[in-house]
Symmetry: C2
Subunit: 261 residues, 2 copies
């Protein structure tokens, strides 16, 4: 007689709030569905981008729904730091290190995957772990939550039927200018909205480059701190922006979107 | 003495559930944050993709939070039907028809914009109205909600740092094959995840085309009915899919994602 194989756990993709870094975090019921908060409160095993901020997140969960186990008894492990590479996440860590993160699922524990803001594995680390879960045949349960990229796209008024997220643009001036023109040409050819982000302290420089190198008729949207109490979003043609360039914070997250017109 | 200009209303982008067409709609607290439900309950003016399903949505809102005004007294107007065009939303309706939809905002009413599922203006109509609101200088408030495309991307394990939503693929066999190869080449060049959708009744045909024309080493994810009770998501290489092609429903929404490997 062979023992029945234990139920295997699910990899649960837990959305975070969008206000990472805000001085006053908002109550989670502003950004997460109640059922998502309940599901997160029941998890005892976590794999996260950063353990310290994950604990802060779980405290916000506990403020809405009692946790299944005390915070200090939870298993909270960090993703291997990605090696920043061109055009994508180049995962750090050995194969064995990644596999060990999924071990609790083999003995029946659901595992929550969490990033610093929004959905894990979307403009954030985590995809390598999800891919490995597929290889291992684990069930994957993405809980519904917001993505700052999609809020910005919806609020931009630009084409939401064809769009590309292109991540970070090159920093070097000439390379950046060439990349901006390439993305604009691609946008014109495909009627595609291009979506880019930048480290907040470089937001003013990126905006300046976009205003310098995009065509006057291209429509440009700046979405700043959406999901924060004072978030804002403005879209107009580059020619209009040039007449009165906006003051953009070097401390707040922003999303830049443009469509050749 | 001139009268003070009245406060102008905000265009509020209201997320919908993801289970459009499901026989048993889920309680909205499964998919929407409580604060979003409260904000929606307070709106008296709506612009929607379809008035009948919008009323059903507002009833689901009312089941969680009392409405500010009775359902039958709400102003619910429909977006002009888009003329389906290549590569984007070609708006139907005259400029005047669009402008009239925003008139309540000029007298201080907030207006809720709602599509059939997920976020308005993302893989759904509404961008034309949002763009017009920008031209008129109205504030735009995107409420946080889920997008089926992003849940699928997070759950795919494919690259979430570079991705493109390419909408519907051509229906004609030869044109479709060429487009699939073009997208795969672009994915390889840019390490980019390609995201496509199809009308549910064509899902089996699209899956067959993808399995036929993608390279064996390309990773393909099928995400079916995410956000529904029985949603599922599987990712593996095309060579593996070919050994045991999945049964995909011709009635449920699906998202197809692939990345050249």
């Amino acid at each position: 007689m062979t023992a029945a194989s234990p139920r295997r756990g699910t990899l649960v993709l837990v959305p975070n709030g969008l206000d990472f870094g805000a001085p006053q975090p908002m109550p989670l019921n502003r950004v997460l569905p109640h059922a998502v908060i309940e599901r997160a409160a029941a998890l005892t095993h976590w794999v996260v981008e950063d353990a310290k901020t994950a604990r802060a997140f779980i405290k916000r969960i506990a403020a809405e729904v009692p946790l299944a186990a005390p915070l200090q008894s939870l298993s909270i492990r960090e993703l291997p730091r990605p090696a920043k590479g061109k055009g994508g996440e180049t995962p750090g860590g050995t194969e064995r290190a990644w596999a060990s993160l999924l071990e609790p699922a083999l003995t029946g524990h659901d595992i929550g995957l969490l990033s610093e803001a929004g959905l894990p594995a979307v403009a954030d680390p985590g995809a390598t772990l999800v891919a490995l879960a597929h290889v291992q045949g684990l069930a994957i349960e993405p809980l519904p939550g917001a993505s700052a990229l999609m809020l910005a796209l919806a609020a931009s008024g630009l084409n939401g039927q064809q769009f590309a997220f292109v991540g970070y643009l090159p920093i070097d001036g000439a390379t950046r200018a060439a990349r901006i023109r390439e993305l604009e040409a691609s946008s014109r050819r495909q009627m595609q909205t291009q979506i880019a982000i930048e480290a907040p302290y470089r937001n003013p420089a990126l905006l300046q480059s976009l205003l310098q190198h995009l065509a006057p008729t291209t429509r440009l949207c700046v979405a700043c701190a959406l999901g924060w109490p004072d978030g804002w979003c403005r879209m107009q043609r580059v020619s209009q922006w040039r007449q009165a360039p906006p003051a953009i914070s070097a401390r707040l997250p922003a999303v830049f979107l443009f469509q050749a017109g």
